[in-house]
Symmetry: C2
Subunit: 204 residues, 2 copies
DNA sequence: TTGACATGGTGACGTACGTCACGATCATTA
DNA sequence: TAATGATCGTGACGTACGTCACCATGTCAA
């Protein structure tokens, strides 16, 4: 998706410029499950992850929000005056603009660029969720790990900074499983493992 | 969700009344994966299922569309001029109104009841998809089968007309697995199995 | 320096469930 | 009436992967 600068028309950017910028520390919860939504975040810096947690504490990452993007689940809850059905938290310290819920509705009428922004989010997130369903329904964990590694490679390059634990949660499995599979990939000379770092040395 | 009668304002109902009604036979594909969307269906009678199919032919039902409802994936594709990323087909012979894609966009501005209808679909379908992810990520097949049976019970009563094969596809597993689990439930006196029918005789 | 955590490596074990391979019935059509 | 296809039952088998139980490091704060 595009940056706020190029996406929105001038008057909308002016309105947004008037809104407060919030800085959140790592692991802060942006949006709680089953709560009503009063503000919609647009992410300026950092990463937000949206997760679903099981009663037993197992969790899976539904999708990630990058700078310039917003949280479609919040927007949906807001447009319908309903609760939200997943949890969003910031992975690294992040900066966000918080938009009051009532503006979100207003802007849908007032600014066609906002409307298009929301429509686009619906498309992209649906696509991601369908991809996730496809993955967990049909793909084995080893393949999903490979895809996840490639995904991180696209964003971080060949030296990926991540722990096995976080990878496991992104994929929705146990840490030991990931550790074992990664070790396997290391033996096959695809990657080199270091504490908190995965170096990719051959095309996955 | 509600019926078209009560949901829409008069002028919109009048517009819809002018559109052709199509009757589709069982297993017709309403909407193909990766195709551009020219018409949005509103279902009048019957059932539409939206599915994702694996290369190997395995499939899972994403959600079902009942009378009065529409297909949010079509709408999303349409609002973004993009292809659709799943396949919809009719389960039983069904009647639908087909709305030209350009009207869908127009109506978002013109009729607030239509806008609300679409917003509501987004909320409901997201909720269902998140529920599905939760289920396939965390729940075992036996539990998912129980839930699916309850779901059918709500719609059809205690005598559910369905084959093991279809149940398997709805859940995304193999027929044998479902047959075995159902047999187990029969042994435990929860259900009675007949060809094409599952009778529920005790609270699941 | 010394705990206290966070990270990760690895063996052992159980099991849910996917797959193959049959056969037995029922239903529909030629 | 024979034949063909849909539906269902069931045994056998393999295996991916979740879980438990440790231990070995590295890191950071007190």
């Amino acid at each position: 998706m595009k940056s706020i600068e190029t996406t929105f028309e001038k008057e909308l950017k002016d309105e947004i410029a008037l809104l407060p910028i919030v800085e959140l520390k790592a692991n802060s919860v942006v949006l709680m499950e089953n709560s009503y939504v009063k503000e919609i975040p647009i992410l300026l810096e950092g990463i937000i992850k949206v997760r679903k947690t099981d009663e037993s504490g197992k969790e899976i990452i539904l999708y990630q929000i990058y700078p310039g993007e917003s949280c479609i689940l919040s927007i949906t809850a807001c447009l319908n005056d309903k609760q939200c059905n997943a949890e969003a938290y910031v992975e690294k310290t992040s900066k966000l603009v918080m938009i009051p819920a009532n503006k979100v509705k207003l802007w849908m009428e007032k600014y066609s660029s906002w409307k298009q922004y929301v429509y686009n989010h619906y498309y992209e997130r649906f696509d991601e969720l369908l991809g996730l369903i496809d993955a967990i329904a049909f793909k084995h964990v080893d393949l999903r790990l490979l895809n996840k590694l490639k995904e991180h490679q696209l964003k971080q390059g060949n030296e990926i900074e991540i722990t096995h634990q976080i990878l496991a949660k992104e994929i929705g499995t146990a840490r030991e499983v990931i550790s074992r599979l990664l070790k396997q990939l290391e033996k096959e000379n695809f990657i080199i493992l270091e504490r908190g770092i995965i170096k990719i040395i051959r095309t996955l």
